[in-house]
């Protein structure tokens, strides 16, 4: 599965990081757009929608969280947040705001490139490649990238869709967080399980009637998650 590098929007107030990222990502074949703050970033999203966004959480004026939320209103583009404090609540808050994954400073370019590649990955093909996956009243159309819950269409981001697709490929089967991290985010042994947890929460908000009492996407304590068949 080769993914062609596309355009990436780098949002960071630090000129050094922005410039060096542009140089490095251009080396990897990306077309790099830059924005030093949230407002400029949202403008750029409108004029020249990128394939993926790299977003620093610490921005002057509108912070990264708000910027991420506003981007999500109009776009399901994958967003990778840069956190200076990978151990803090920043990461979870960023993911809650709609980001798809995070990377900690300092990172190296191969690592960043791998994350960007994973976010833009196509769906893993399920064995007999059906036109639709069905789990209870949830229907996933992999080709069209559409989901309906009880006949009603639901809008998901690319990563949320990817996650639901994996779960719906075997309804009733329990997926561990590690397994989901590996399949959706392409993490090896050391993925952060919080990424899965936050995405599950976001999915529930969209597909459950009451996300505090999930009926469709069930937590199996100590094991992981499953979709009710």
């Amino acid at each position: 599965m080769v993914v062609m590098p596309g355009s990436v929007l780098v949002v960071d107030d630090d000129d050094g990081i922005r410039t060096s990222l542009r140089l490095a990502l251009e080396d990897h074949g990306y077309k790099v757009l830059e924005a030093p703050d949230g407002e400029t970033a949202l403008d750029r999203m409108r004029t020249e929608p990128p394939d993926v966004v790299v977003l620093d959480l610490m921005l002057p004026g509108m912070d990264g969280f708000e910027c991420c939320r506003q981007m999500r209103r109009s776009s399901d583009v994958p967003v990778l947040i840069i956190s200076a404090r990978g151990d803090s609540h920043d990461v979870v808050a960023g993911l809650e705001a709609g980001a798809d994954d995070y990377i900690r400073k300092p990172f190296d370019i191969p690592e960043l490139a791998a994350r960007l590649r994973a976010l833009r990955r196509r769906l893993r093909s399920v064995s007999d490649k059906p036109d639709e996956l069905v789990a209870g009243d949830i229907v996933v159309h992999p080709d069209r990238g559409e989901v309906t819950v009880a006949g009603r269409p639901v809008h998901l981001t690319k990563t949320e869709f990817h996650l639901l697709y994996e779960l719906a490929s075997s309804p009733g089967r329990v997926f561990s967080r590690d397994m989901l991290l590996q399949r959706v985010w392409d993490y090896g042994y050391f993925g952060d399980a919080r990424i899965v947890d936050v995405h599950i929460r976001r999915l529930r908000a969209k597909i459950e009637q009451d996300s505090s009492k999930p009926q469709r996407l069930i937590t199996v304590r100590g094991f992981g998650y499953k979709l009710e068949p």
Binding site: I17, R85, K105, P106, D108, F190
Partner: protein, 461 residues
């Protein structure tokens, strides 16, 4: 402090309890003993008075009969009223008469018989068939006779025996009560001490929030106040220090990212560079990697300082962890084995931190000791043990503790360490392992070289 350790003495609690017990024992025994002696004397005197008076009365009666010519002595014995507890013996004209078959002349002490017959009134305590008796002898010279009466005092003995039992029981109860009171009082007195001890322990274990609850007792309130002030000062200082280290590390991260990214761009053009520029680039790359590691280690260690316990522990299979680390790193060739059931080698912890601890041990071996030669995981009943053996010369006894200190470097390490290590690797191992409730130490490996041993408490099901 005075030089030398104070000789260990009994604890305060024990001493107070002992003092109370001893005091209660002394007082209660003295009271019981004097009560007993007083009763004994009173009872004995009273019995002696009663028996004497009765003997005189009976002797007078007998005398009246015996002075008649040719008296019927057995008849006299029959007519006397003595009660069942007394026996009468009469001597007359060289012959002995007794009112009982069991007590006769021989029951009376010889010396007493002689004294009475010789004309004296004699009162004597004696034992006949183990029963205590009072014997009173009254001479009856007018009748040429002597009158003896033997009183059985078994009931007095029983009374005294009962009294003894009661007094011993009372004294014991008082002593026990004294001990209990002493214990209770000492617990109450030392309660603030124990609270301080408990809080100090919790602080030592990393819980800097441990403070003593407010105390209404004025003496204790001072202690509580100064203790809590000390804790707060300590906490503020530690927080300031760790926050500073963390802040510095965070601030360094952005320029580090720019440096690493720019270096990556240069690296991609390494082949186009002249030799001298290439050498300089390689030097930059090596040093930047070390700098990054140092910043990460500093951040990690300040995080460990503020957060002594694990946040969200999960089951981690140590066997798999080792296998994964060896497979996905430059240490792929190092032989490893799991002794015992691999499925049981599970600890409750943080995968990332355990991975880093193990990785630091392998880095340490590679940097200072020619590389690790084996990684062995052993599953015990209580613990999962990880041995990391290396090919170096071993760690001298004197340095075995010190090498786990921050920025401390072993003697052999001192030269090369400045080029590669961060000086925090083993200190971080200690922090990570401690956070898991485990321990780490170094000894000689059976194959020569050093053996670093990490012990982690096994997960209980």
């Amino acid at each position: 402090m005075i030089a030398g350790r104070a000789r260990p003495r009994l604890g305060l609690t024990l001493r107070i309890t002992l003092a109370f017990t001893l005091g209660a024992l002394l007082v209660s025994s003295a009271v019981a003993l004097s009560a007993y002696l007083f009763t004994l004397r009173f009872q004995v005197q009273q019995q002696e008075r009663i028996t004497l008076r009765q003997t005189y009365l009976n002797a007078a009666q007998a005398r009246a009969r015996l002075i008649q010519p040719d008296p019927d002595v057995p008849g006299v014995l029959d007519t006397l009223t003595t009660g069942s507890a007394a026996t009468t013996v009469i001597y007359r004209g060289g012959r002995w008469y007794a009112s009982s078959l069991t007590i006769s002349r021989d029951a009376l002490p010889l010396q007493m018989r002689q004294q009475v017959i010789a004309g004296s009134v004699v009162r004597s305590w004696s034992r006949i068939d183990r029963a205590p008796k009072i014997i009173v002898g009254v001479p009856l010279p007018a009748a040429n006779a002597a009158y003896f009466q033997v009183f059985d005092e078994s009931s007095l003995q029983q009374t005294l025996s009962l009294l003894r039992t009661i007094l011993v029981a009372a004294a014991s109860a008082t002593t026990a009560a004294g001990a209990a009171l002493g214990w209770w009082l000492s617990r109450r007195l030392t309660a603030p001490l124990r609270a301080v001890d408990d809080a100090a322990r919790r602080i030592a274990a990393g819980n800097l929030q441990a403070e003593l609850p407010a105390e209404s007792d004025r003496d204790v309130a001072n202690l509580v106040d100064s203790f809590n002030t000390m804790v707060r000062t300590l906490r503020a200082r530690i927080e300031r220090d760790t926050r500073f280290a963390a802040d510095v590390s965070h601030e360094l991260r952005s320029p580090l990212t720019t440096l690493a990214t720019s270096l990556g761009v240069l690296q991609a053009r390494r082949d186009e560079m002249p030799d001298r520029a290439r050498d300089a680039l390689d030097l930059l790359t090596t040093e930047l990697a070390r700098f990054e590691r140092l910043v990460e280690d500093l951040l990690e260690i300040s995080r460990a300082d503020t957060q002594a316990r694990l946040v969200d522990p999960e089951p981690v299979n140590v066997g798999q962890l080792v296998e994964n680390l060896l497979q996905t790193s430059e240490y792929a060739g190092i032989p490893s084995r799991v002794e015992g059931d691999c499925d049981q080698a599970v600890v409750l912890g943080d995968k990332r931190r355990l991975h880093q601890a193990l990785r630091n041990l392998l880095d340490n071996a590679a940097t200072y000791a020619g590389g690790a030669t084996a990684v062995i995981v052993t599953t015990g009943r209580e613990a999962v043990t990880i041995h990391v053996d290396d090919a170096g010369p071993g760690v001298p006894q004197a340095e075995r503790e010190r090498i786990f200190d921050r920025f401390s470097r072993g003697r052999q390490g001192s030269r090369r360490a400045s080029q590669r290590g961060t000086g925090l690797g083993l200190a971080l191992v200690t922090e990570h392992v401690r956070a898991h409730g485990g321990s780490v130490h170094v000894e000689d490996a059976p194959s020569g070289g050093a053996r670093f041993t990490v012990q982690l408490p096994r997960r209980r099901r």
